[in-house]
Symmetry: C2
Subunit: 343 residues, 2 copies
């Protein structure tokens, strides 16, 4: 356990709940047989199985995974770490994971790292104490570079999502940010834009670096020079500052590609605040296609990154990895889709 984590004991005078022994007695078989029935073993005879199943219902038996886990080593549980659960992108992603796990029967612990490595480490320790079989992780920005190595050492299967720590070769799922960025650039170029800016997250993550690289190369390929790159955090005031800085120089960009929709919407707001019209005075493209992007005015043009699919893929990959720890690794890049709207 960690520091200051003395859990206050519950005082429930729990009426002892039914165990496998009660079921065995009720059905007139041995514990071992009940256990086999619980695990859907093909060994038990049909009528025995039915008798046991009836007994299970009769005595109100609830499977005790804590006990099972002890012997079998399987908890039927995984962990998921996201940097910010209130970002609609991650909420959708979680929903995709949940959907896949609901079918599988496993359950997940959700941790919100808020991009704090300490909180992330705390969460990882806690889920390890609970015997999770694997973990889906979008690593906090300043995560220790040792993290992945440790998880391997611990024999803890994992799938990285969105961000990949220094080119690790394990399982990985993310939207294809490079292709998405290229789509955005090409779209703008086809509309006649020549001066384009990119505003990636200031966070030093692979997801940001990848966009910068793709942006630079796409600009070069289109024969355009010196796309501007403005790093910033993803806050409202960053959007303001960015707009101000962009428009102040000579030959200001006529279009900007934002790190995500939240930032793009912030930029739209900033433009309106100073009396400019988004989509006319400055074109804006976001990333993600979160629900509110289609409702904004003007509606946001964006690169849809399909978070739900990313989540579903990640869950599928993790389950596969749990079953086959040594199987070949896989890297899934979910194809983005350009949604052209009004900006």
């Amino acid at each position: 356990m960690g520091d200051g984590e003395k859990l206050s004991p519950g005082q429930a005078e729990r009426r002892r709940s039914a165990t496998i022994v009660d079921v065995a007695e009720a059905a007139g078989v041995s514990r071992a047989t009940v256990s086999l029935v619980l695990r859907h073993s093909p060994l038990v005879a049909d009528d025995t199985r039915q008798r046991v199943q009836r007994a299970i219902v009769d005595v109100g038996y609830i499977y005790n995974r804590g006990a099972a886990q002890m012997r079998s080593g399987m908890s039927g549980t995984i962990g998921v770490i996201v940097p910010e659960i209130t970002n609609p992108f991650y909420a959708e992603l979680l929903s995709g994971i949940d959907e896949t796990l609901d079918v599988d029967g496993r359950l997940c612990f959700v941790g919100n790292s808020t991009d704090s490595p300490e909180r992330q480490d705390r969460f990882i320790r806690r889920i390890r104490e609970r015997g999770v079989e694997g973990i889906i992780i979008c690593a906090a920005e300043a995560s220790s570079p040792l993290l992945l190595g440790q998880m391997r050492e611990w024999n803890l299967p994992f799938v990285q999502i969105l961000r990949s720590i220094d080119g690790d070769t394990g399982d990985f799922v993310a939207p294809d940010f490079a292709v998405g960025t290229r789509m955005a650039v090409e779209h703008l170029v086809s509309r006649g834009h020549e001066r384009i800016a990119l505003m990636p997250s200031a966070k030093n993550t692979s997801a940001a670096r990848e966009r910068v690289a793709a942006f630079t190369s796409a600009m070069a390929k289109s024969g355009l020079q010196g796309g501007r790159i403005l790093h910033g955090r993803l806050t409202r005031s960053d959007a303001h500052d960015a707009v101000a800085s962009i428009l102040s120089g000579a030959k200001p960009p006529t279009a900007i590609i934002a790190h995500n929709d939240l930032l793009a919407l912030g930029i739209i707001g900033a433009l309106r605040n100073i009396g400019l019209t988004p989509g006319v005075d400055l074109s804006v493209i976001g990333f993600d296609d979160i629900p509110e992007s289609s409702h904004s005015v003007p509606a946001l043009t964006t690169v849809a990154t399909r978070p739900r699919e990313v989540g579903a893929h990640a869950a599928t990959l993790l389950l596969r990895r749990i079953i086959k720890p040594k199987g070949p690794t896989e890297s899934v890049l979910v194809s983005p889709k350009l949604i052209v709207r009004q900006t």
Copy 2:
């Protein structure tokens, strides 16, 4: 276990990880002593404690809660059920719960019921199998009326949030929808509106019924007659239909109070689509104050319901209930706040 839930076994040839016995050997004490140190017992002498703690680090020991739970009955885990995790309101709420639990040291299983009682029941069974100590639940719309009684019978502490199943007297936390509704009505009345409509969720939940009651009484108190009530689901097309239906009749309402911001934003969109100006041709007030409400154009006037606080309160109440199952019940109504913007 349930049907079709044979969990595929992992094949990890787990190098047996360190147990309390390894720690005991390394520190030259008995298992029992190590166990006492782990639980921060005041019984152990200081230097012994330190020796054990060093040994814990040395052997890379990780506390096994599955085993501990077996004897002590405590899993250090709770469950949370929300109807729709992608709704920003619930995402914020989860974040509030997470925050409180992070301090406490407990972890939570998050379930997304999508308002399906079957899925909710499945989730509840699964978390019971894992020995959760309690549950925070926003019951799915058509939940069995027996649900709460069962949970009591199971000795499973719970706190209801937002919706309360037929006037149950257990612990409960929610925004004060009645006060919020009254605030909205009074605000509109003070601006001179006389024909006001309410659009609650069609879902038959206490959260919807409460608004209707408060609306009716607030209208009466203001001496206004016949506020219109339009039930609908909370989709985009409902917003459209509602707008159409509202404006078609004679003496159409001049203001509408929507069930939540998502719906309110939908209404704003619908108005713009038919060339009307929200806030001028029809005033709109939402509920929740989700982040995008302040970014919308025009910015949405709304009743802030402070989901993060609701979550934090619910977690605190549940922890208290776990420690004192028979303690007095508490019902927390978080005061809403009217955020006047442009609509």
